[in-house]
């Protein structure tokens, strides 16, 4: 099973929930930080990193001698990574999304794939869990290609076979967030009972619903704010899987970089229950699927 821990709003507790789930999961998991723009799961899981590999995207390299300035490449490029200005051909590597259309369409075979570094894939162990994270190169704007490479790494690694996977997803509802949850079996949405939490929870729910995956909610800092998030969940049929109280000992453990399910006794029980809830959710057909079948 693949569990993605996501949220619309940032700072609701995705990493807190991901690290705690990994620590109480009944079998050794693969904990994956797919928030490659600012990974932080390692700060809590303290993995021993044993391997680091660069990840690349393929970008065009143009042979000026072979190029006839026919413009086929620049016309097909949706991102203006290739420009032809009079007789001058230029590439803009940072604009390239790596689709390969240019070297596929070039009638002169003047374009070959070169590469741009997206970032690094780091892997290792944290206790019984395997740990994998992507880290985007500073200055790189595109995270989904690196995220896809992290997922390829997961599929290729023999140490990961047969294990459940817990994904710490990036916040938001744009391409990176969708990429992080699209292969999951269950999506856990972490929110807080504030107007911001509610607004972004609703956005995430709308964005992810078309994927047709079972979704449930963890409410963090559950005793602040209003009841609006609860009312929303009830109205839209989102199961509330767990409520993490707003409590000093939890905040202290977090501030010290500790996993709350390990450091706070009441939290261990809460997350063990959450594991059960997630497994139950996994067995249920999602609402979106039912709608599709109707």
């Amino acid at each position: 099973m693949i569990v993605a821990v996501a949220s619309g709003k940032g700072g609701t507790g995705k990493t807190t929930v991901s690290a705690s789930l990994a620590s109480v999961w009944p079998s050794p998991v693969v904990a994956v930080d797919l928030d490659v723009e600012e990974p932080n799961l390692h700060l809590f899981m303290n993995p021993a990193i044993s391997a680091q590999e660069p990840s690349y995207i393929e970008i065009p390299e143009i042979d000026d001698e072979k190029c006839t300035r026919c413009r086929a490449c620049t016309d097909i490029c949706q991102f203006k990574a290739i420009g032809i200005f009079g007789e001058v051909v230029m590439t803009f590597p940072e604009m390239c999304h790596g689709c390969g259309a240019c070297w596929t369409i070039c009638p002169e075979e003047a374009i070959t794939p070169g590469k741009r570094e997206l970032g690094q894939i780091l892997s290792g162990r944290s206790g019984p869990s395997a740990f994998v994270m992507g880290r985007l190169r500073v200055g790189e704007a595109m995270s989904p290609p690196l995220m896809r490479d992290v997922k390829r790494h997961l599929n290729g690694g023999s140490g990961y076979a047969g294990r459940d996977i817990i994904i710490d997803a990036p916040p938001g509802v744009s391409c990176p967030a969708i990429n992080a949850v699209m292969d999951a079996d269950v999506i856990v949405l972490v929110t807080e009972p504030t107007p911001f939490g509610l607004y972004d929870l609703a956005l995430a729910q709308q964005a992810f619903a078309p994927l047709g995956k079972p979704m449930g909610v963890v409410i963090n800092r559950a005793d602040i704010g209003t009841r609006d998030v609860y009312d929303h969940c009830q109205k839209t049929g989102l199961t509330i899987l767990a409520e993490i109280p707003y409590q000093r000992d939890i905040a202290e453990a977090y501030a010290k970089g500790r996993i709350i399910a390990v450091a706070v006794p009441s939290m261990r029980a809460l997350f063990e229950t959450l594991v059960g809830q997630i497994k139950t959710l996994h067995g249920q057909p999602s609402m979106a699927r039912e709608v599709q079948h109707a």
């Binding site: 991102f79 420009g83 200005f85 009079g86 001058v88 940072e94 604009m95 200055g139």
Partner: protein, 122 residues
């Protein structure tokens, strides 16, 4: 003489100079000897998610203009225009296209040696 391109909010010489280069509404291409002009639409660049400046530079280069008068040029467009051998006069805004050309012909528009906008992706 060399043709002059001016980023423009409209299709004639009395239109305002569009201060944006990449996302300008269009370009007026002027033959300074006869003051004959044509208008080239840049709407296809305006709607791009990224790379508007690069595409606008392609459009201007294709007109054969050797001089561009505009408000702000980002780093990629600047690089592209330079590569195409097009000289750039920046900070030419709050004027009509006609006034901009007159000012250039009077020698009051210096040729830029660096972009004056940071662009949106770097």
């Amino acid at each position: 003489m060399e043709k002059i391109a001016v980023s423009s909010e409209g299709p004639d010489m009395d239109a305002r100079v569009d201060p944006r280069f990449g996302r300008a509404a269009g370009f007026i291409i002027i033959d300074p000897d006869t003051m004959a002009f044509e208008y080239v639409d840049n709407g296809s660049s305006q709607v791009m998610a990224q790379g508007a400046g690069i595409q606008a530079a392609e459009i201007v280069a294709a007109t054969g203009a050797r001089v561009l008068l505009t408000g702000f040029v980002g780093p990629k467009a600047f690089q592209a225009l330079n590569a195409a051998g097009i000289r750039i006069g920046q900070n030419v805004d709050n004027l009509t296209v006609r006034e901009a050309v007159q000012r250039f012909q009077a020698g009051d528009v210096p040729v830029a040696d660096a972009p004056n906008s940071r662009g949106h992706r770097s």
